[in-house]
């Protein structure tokens, strides 16, 4: 006899499985193609790349779960979207909890079953090949299943918010990504109106799981030797299992919330766009503001010149936002009312939307928070970081130089100038770390001529001794004279061939010691070798020769610690370095004193004026 308190109904469960098994067959085919199928390719298999492939397929599986979750929820809750289906289900002698829980389980069980089947298939395949690495497969199974639980539960919740099967995937996708998109739109608006605005790390990406998983769920490997002939799997690890587990738990909470909503659901809302009465105005206003933000992002980025006067920017953005909000607001109203005759009855509701947009943009444009003029005091600053090689400066003198540059920018803010039309420009991003633990970020696009004071101040700070020591810390930090080796590679622009060339060699032992201690370090300390070039464009690029130095522990087979790679622009005054390269390597560095335009090495943006003459002839350095 059926228990009155049972939350599971075998009849509904069997019925759902019987009707929707083809959907899970498709899921099986997709997973089977992506995992065993991928490994069946001759270039993969059970050898060296096995671990890497399996773990990457786990990452891929978490993306497939986005579609699997939506598809399963659409099938399991499809009865809610027609009056007939809803009526039949609601008239059955089954409690609502039972209907929901059974439908939820009927979607989740086949998904997990498919995962397990693929897992077992792979395990059997491994055993048949005589190589068993169940750890990687368990990782795959766990990652994909956790992602499936989250996405399916989330889709089940989204299913309760609408009464339309067609709208469900849209609601699901919008809710999954809306926070990230809205954050990006606000960043764009701030960027348009606030001079110097620099976005920091995205704070809301955790509310957009696909974007968050993209950042957090990945495969890491420290195995740099890529021995494809090895039968032993590559050393690599899956990152983000904890994140997936937390989201799966959150997914179960969403499923519970979905159950609560289903219990309260009014069955007459089948075919409604929004099935929860109190969410109808929320939907309407969200769509209005969402359209406004999206339009500001699209049109603001495409149609407003960066150097346009602020009043023009304000007028244009306001026009675009209000028109878009109007469209969004009344489209939502039409969808809710299922009628196009909505203007007369609901135009008053749009007035606050327009007022909020006008107020927000006007206040933003007026910079009422004083964002643009806000420059910290030297005493408030713990350090300042520049994007150039992520140079971090703590020295008071260098901080003062950075502040000097910053003040010059604010003081000489270019008006109505096109930074891209001048002789050169660069984008400088700086982050102050303040003593109160906060951060202040600024980003400016600077024109070479008009902000010379700022340029010189920044150059002086970034290419200070402290700046170079920070950028090339691994070189300065080497202790002892053995146990290390390095690869050096040289990149330059070949004028005759009109293309970039590169070459490399491996140094160890005495060669390594001599090159690092006698050439690189003295030149870094005393010349403009390694100076950061602020104005980097095609022209400077062709005059640039860089040396890349990749230091690592000598004789290491698998490096547990990542190698330390640095590259530096070669300047003509880096005599020790250039001479050594010429005498000890067979690099081809083309130099020509006869034609300065062909000098392949940087003259240094702010050299001390003692740059040595460049090499007199094109030569093969041997």
């Amino acid at each position: 006899m059926k228990s009155k308190t049972s939350v599971f109904d075998t009849g509904i469960f069997k019925n759902l499985l019987k009707r929707f098994w083809p959907v899970f067959l498709v899921y099986f085919i997709v997973l089977f193609t992506s995992l065993p199928g991928e490994l069946a390719r001759p270039s993969n298999g059970l050898g060296y790349r096995f671990s890497y492939q399996v773990l990457w397929q786990a990452v891929t599986g978490t993306k497939i779960a986005i579609l699997a979750g939506a598809g399963a929820a659409m099938c399991m809750f499809s009865f809610m979207y027609t009056q007939k289906g809803t009526g039949m289900m609601a008239s059955l002698p089954v409690r609502r909890e039972t209907v929901f829980v059974t439908s939820y389980i009927a979607g989740l069980v086949p998904i997990v079953a498919v995962n397990v089947i693929v897992f077992l298939f792979m395990l059997v395949y491994e055993v048949s090949q005589g190589a068993v690495y169940p750890g990687f497969l368990f990782t795959w199974l766990a990652a994909v299943t956790l992602a499936d639980i989250f996405y399916y539960s989330f889709a089940s919740l989204a299913a309760q918010l609408t009464g339309s099967l067609i709208v469900l995937p849209a609601v699901y996708a919008i809710l999954l990504m809306t926070c990230t998109v809205v954050e990006e739109c606000f960043i764009k608006l701030f960027d348009i109106f606030l001079y110097g605005y620099a976005p920091g790390a995205r704070k809301l990406s955790f509310l957009s799981p696909p974007a968050y998983f993209e950042q957090k769920v990945t495969v890491e490997s420290n195995d740099f030797f890529y021995d494809y002939s090895s039968i032993k799997p590559m050393v690599c690890s899956f990152k983000g299992m904890g994140v997936l587990a937390i989201y799966a738990l959150i997914g179960l909470l969403f499923a519970y919330l979905a159950l609560r909503l289903y219990r309260k659901r009014r069955m007459e809302t089948a075919t409604d766009i929004v099935s929860i009465e109190i969410l109808k105005p929320v939907f309407k206003y969200c769509l209005a503001f969402g359209c406004a933000l999206a339009a500001s992002d699209y049109f603001g980025g495409s149609f407003i010149p960066e150097n346009a006067p602020n009043i023009e920017k304000l007028a244009f953005i306001l026009f675009v936002m209000i028109v878009s909000a109007f469209i969004g607001y009344f489209a939502a109203e039409m969808l809710i009312k299922k009628s196009t005759r909505v203007f007369k009855a609901s135009w008053k509701g749009f007035v606050p939307v327009a007022c909020v947009l006008v107020l927000f943009c006007t206040l933003l444009n007026a910079d009422i928070t004083g964002f643009e003029e806000n420059i910290p005091e030297a005493g408030e600053i713990e350090s300042v970081e520049f994007d150039y090689g992520n140079t971090v400066l703590k020295n008071a003198e260098n901080i003062e130089k950075a502040l000097e540059g910053h003040r010059a920018i604010v003081r000489n803010r270019p008006e109505n100038t096109d930074p891209y039309g001048g002789p050169g420009y660069y984008v400088i991003r700086m982050t102050y770390k303040l003593t109160n633990g906060k951060e202040m970020r600024r980003e400016y696009t600077l024109v070479e001529d008009e902000t010379a004071a700022a340029n010189k101040a920044f150059d002086s700070a970034i290419n200070s001794r402290e700046g170079k020591h920070f950028r090339f810390e691994p070189l300065f930090g080497i202790t002892g004279d053995t146990g290390y080796g390095c690869n050096i590679n040289v990149n330059w622009y070949d004028v005759e061939k009109a293309r970039y060339e590169s070459d490399y060699t491996y140094l160890s032992g005495d060669q390594f010691k001599e090159f690092v201690y006698s050439c690189l370090i003295p030149d870094l300390e005393n010349t403009s070798l390694g100076d950061a070039i602020l104005f980097y464009n095609e022209e400077t690029g062709r005059k640039l020769t860089t040396i890349g130095v990749d230091i690592y522990e000598k004789n290491a087979v698998v490096m547990d610690a990542a190698s330390k790679y640095m590259y530096m622009q070669v300047s003509t005054d880096a005599r020790h370095t250039l001479d050594w390269i010429r005498e000890n390597t067979d690099f081809i560095i083309i130099t020509s004193a006869e034609n300065d335009a062909n000098i392949p090495v940087s003259e240094g943006w702010a050299t001390d004026g003692n740059a040595v003459p460049v090499y007199a002839e094109e030569a093969i350095i041997d």
């Binding site: 009849g11 019925n15 019987k18 008239s91 089954v94 069955m267």
Partner: protein, 297 residues
């Protein structure tokens, strides 16, 4: 027994049910009639536990229906447009309902199969609308329900099958005291099967009576009055038409009372005619502002 008290249901700004009362006695066959949009289907969806009322009570056999699985297990509901799962056969649907309804009777299912003559392996959605309705009756009656709720039940059925379905249903009522609530616009048919009638309009119950009482509460009289005489005052006339000297009047009241009052006018000819349910429906609703309009196009 079905009891609906002061039932209110609104859809957005539209008040579909406005303090509706219904009383269907046990073992009664109750015809629920009313114009389009009166709220008949809405109240049926409350009685079958699909919709939740804004206020008021909906009880079957003395118990609230909403979320009451025990009560719902005793109700069979055949909507106007029956839902079947895609590609499900009669057999599949039978298994589904058999799992749901504890009193589902396989013997009855088999015996009714002979009445309807539809193959159990047939995909239901490929059957004609009428045959789908037959399947609905087949399954519903196999559940051995104590209450049957039907919304436009015989639409699409041919006359023979209609008669067959009513016979089966009424024998169920006779044998088991099954309570039946039928919503239909086919008043001629309802008149044959119902013993109680409720006329709804604008979300309210206008009249709810035993059919015989209802028919006795209105009188249709044909009479011819002498020259210069008119219909006496004091009669509650719902409708009057004239063809020469012959007048036809629909009057609220008992036959004896009405003919007695008319006798005062010394009619040359008077005849009391039987009223059909359709006439009662038309003239009662006419009195409530839903009259047949004489429009010349």
């Amino acid at each position: 027994m079905i009891e609906v008290k002061k039932l209110v249901k609104t859809f957005g700004d539209f008040r579909a049910l406005d303090g509706l009362d219904i009383n269907v006695p046990s073992g009664a066959v109750y015809g629920l009639v009313g114009p389009n949009g009166a709220g008949k289907s809405t109240v049926i969806r409350h009685i079958t536990g699909i919709l939740k009322q804004d206020s008021g009570e909906v009880k079957v056999d003395g118990e609230d229906v909403y979320e009451n699985t025990a009560v719902k297990a005793r109700i069979a509901y055949i909507p106007d447009d029956v839902f079947y799962y895609t590609q499900a056969s009669v057999n599949d649907m039978m298994k589904f309902y058999r799992d749901m309804y504890p009193k589902f009777d396989m013997e009855r299912f088999s015996s009714l199969g002979k009445v309807f003559g539809i193959k159990t392996s047939s995909p239901v959605r490929k059957l004609s609308r009428g045959m789908q309705k037959q399947v609905a009756f087949w399954l519903a009656l196999s559940m051995r329900p104590e209450t049957v709720v039907l919304d436009e039940p015989v639409d699409g059925l041919d006359p023979v099958m209609r008669r067959q379905v009513w016979n089966v249903l009424l024998s169920d009522v006779a044998e088991n005291g099954t309570t039946v609530l039928i919503s239909s616009h086919n008043l001629r048919e309802l008149e044959d099967v119902c013993d109680h009638v409720g006329i709804m309009n604008k979300g309210k119950m206008m009249i709810e009576r035993n059919l015989a009482d209802l028919q006795e509460s209105l009188v249709k009289v044909q009479l011819a009055l002498p020259e210069g005489k008119s219909v006496p005052d004091g009669l509650d006339i719902l409708h009057m038409s004239e063809l020469g000297h012959l007048k036809t009047i629909i009057v609220r009241g008992s036959t004896d009372d009405v003919t007695g009052k008319l006798a005062a006018a010394s009619p040359m000819f008077i005849d009391v005619l039987p009223l059909t349910l359709e006439e009662i429906f038309v003239y009662e609703l006419g009195g409530a502002g839903y009259e047949v309009k004489d429009i010349s196009i």
